[in-house]
């Protein structure tokens, strides 16, 4: 059932062509969309199978035994389990997400504040956002992963590569997410602040109970969008030598000369991101309905 199927056949009755096109209602639309999906997929598979190198391609990328072996891993033969390594991606993602939500909110609030006392730190945060949005994430990962250990500082220089990777993700993504928050803060009408302040609420209390809840609600879809992206980008931390899913797949392919391990990694990433993507869609749809149903504000 796709989003284009008619909700009720009657709603097309007024437009001459509509009823003929969709007569039969929801069931018929379902049949049409199913058939068209099968036909499109079938054509793609046929094109793939007719390609001159189809056999070699299939063996290199979709070999079931290689997929299984790379998924399970075998340290004695010199490669790691991609299935186990994805847990590191998940852990890095979860830690980074919490830190990003906090740091980005802090940056956004500083940048939105009007207080003259905060001017220097406001300049700093603006520079921070400009810098980390402009520098490729992979360079930030290199800079922290290779640069900080070289500094020979206590604590800072003795962390694991995964920690440096997470720190780089947090620095880079917080710059983006702070802009999402800022858009949310701007989306709350100033009259809401007037109303809150007129009741005697302090600036902080008004922000905490009136502005922020509305701001965050307005930007949940773009926030989730960034987090889908973050889930994938944990793979870049593998460049530091951390054995996450993509790195484990690379080691397998370098050992066995078969790329099916990357297919396994891709499938695992899809399993992670698709539920979040569908969840985001549902939130957007719910928000749209809420707005349509809502009367005057």
């Amino acid at each position: 059932m796709d989003a284009n199927s008619p909700v009720s056949p009657g709603s097309f009755a007024a437009t001459g062509r509509g009823p003929r096109l969709f007569s039969g209602g929801g069931t018929r639309a379902t049949v049409i969309s199913s058939v068209s999906t099968i036909v499109v997929l079938g054509i793609l598979v046929v094109i793939f199978l007719l390609a001159p190198g189809a056999r070699a391609f299939e063996h290199t990328f979709f070999s079931p035994t290689d997929m299984w072996r790379s998924f399970i891993g075998n340290p004695r033969k010199g490669y790691y389990s991609v299935g186990a390594a994805i847990w590191l991606n998940i852990r890095m993602f979860l830690v980074a997400e919490v830190l990003i939500l906090a740091l980005a909110l802090f940056v956004a609030l500083i940048r939105q504040s009007a207080s003259p006392a905060l001017f220097p730190i406001r300049i700093l945060t603006t520079g921070y956002v400009d810098f980390f949005r402009g520098v490729p994430l992979i360079l930030v990962i290199f800079a922290l992963g290779f640069g900080l250990p070289a500094l020979n500082l206590p604590v800072v220089s003795s962390q694991s590569d995964a920690v440096y990777g997470v720190a780089a993700l947090v620095l880079s993504y917080s710059a983006y997410v702070s802009e999402v928050y800022r858009a949310g803060l701007n989306s709350v009408h100033r009259s809401q602040v007037s109303a809150a302040r007129s009741l005697g609420l302090s600036h902080g209390t008004a922000l905490r109970f009136v502005v922020l809840p509305q701001a965050v609600r307005n930007v949940i879809p773009p926030l989730l969008n960034d987090f889908i992206s973050l889930q994938k980008d944990t793979a870049l931390v593998g460049t530091l030598g951390v054995i996450e899913a993509n790195k484990a797949a690379g080691i397998y392919s370098a050992t066995v000369f078969n790329f099916s391990s990357f297919t396994v990694a891709a499938i695992l990433f899809l399993i992670l991101t698709i539920p979040l993507a569908r969840f985001t869609d549902r939130l957007i749809e719910r928000d749209r309905r809420r707005r349509l149903a809502g009367g005057t504000r």
């Binding site: 009259s191 007037s194 005697g200 009367g295 005057t296």
Partner: protein
């Protein structure tokens, strides 16, 4: 009307009975001078209506009194205390002044009850249960008790505006400022809001009401002030101002209102 009417001619009022005093208030937005020297006095329990065309400065005056807008010059005193000087805690002042806006400005992410209890619980530190009880009593008094758990966007404009009034009353203000509270309402919803205001006046609430409802102003006001271009052109009891305006500008304004069938 419980409130003592102001002495005729605006003569000296005993300090204790003067709720609000404004002296030579000036307010500009960039180069646009909106208030050009407003001087007025409001006695306790007095109801004053501000009339005048859009842009005459009524809303800005109310926002200045509530310290939502910083003023450029002049002085505002609340019960004898200067509230416009430096070092005044605006939050303390606003506890005593309730304001209701044209566009309701209810908090859309909170239930009606939460809208009403948020200020008492967060500002006055009233215990949640007590604040809820008091809020329910107020909602009940204004016929809104069955809406307590609804969200604002499920309510009609009239209901929303009544909730906004209740929300302001929950802080037990000494002075209420009403900023064209019926201007955003469908005509059939205006009466229910005006009823609430009439009840407040009967209860002795000191009010400053910016309004386009001339009939209502005539019925409820102890005094009516006509504003034009940021100045009070004329102020008088409604019976005088509406029937025998002294200033040409007041006459012109009232004639336009009559032609628009608003009086």
């Amino acid at each position: 009307m419980i409130g003592a009417p102001a002495p005729a001619g605006g003569g000296p009022v005993p300090v204790s009975s003067e709720a609000l005093r404004i002296d030579d208030l000036h307010k500009s937005f960039d180069s646009n001078e909106v208030l050009r020297g407003i001087t007025m006095s409001v006695a306790a329990h007095e109801v004053i209506c501000l009339i005048g065309a859009s842009g005459s400065g009524k809303s800005t005056l109310l926002r200045c009194i509530n310290l939502l807008e910083p003023i450029n010059a002049g002085r505002i005193s609340l019960f004898g205390h200067d509230i416009s000087g430096p070092g005044v805690d605006a939050n303390l002042v606003r506890r005593q002044i309730g304001i209701v806006f044209q566009s309701f400005n209810l908090f859309p992410h909170m239930t009606v009850l939460r809208n009403v209890t948020i200020a008492p619980t967060k500002v006055l530190r009233t215990p949640a249960a007590q604040a809820a009880d008091e809020a329910r009593a107020l909602l009940d008094r204004f016929g809104l008790i069955d809406k307590a758990d609804e969200y604002p966007d499920r309510l009609s404009g009239g209901q929303q505006q009544r909730v906004a009034i209740v929300r302001a009353l929950a802080m037990q203000p000494q002075l209420m400022l009403l900023d064209e509270v019926t201007s955003a309402l469908d005509p059939e919803l205006v009466a229910e809001v005006l009823e609430v205001i009439t009840e407040l006046a009967a209860g002795g609430m000191t009010m400053l009401i910016a309004t386009h409802e001339m009939g209502f102003a005539r019925d409820i006001a102890d005094r009516v002030c006509f504003l034009e271009e940021g100045r009070i052109i004329e102020e008088a009891p409604p019976a005088e101002l509406f029937t025998n305006p002294q200033d040409d500008r007041t006459r012109r304004f009232l004639r336009r209102i009559v032609e628009a069938k608003r009086l």
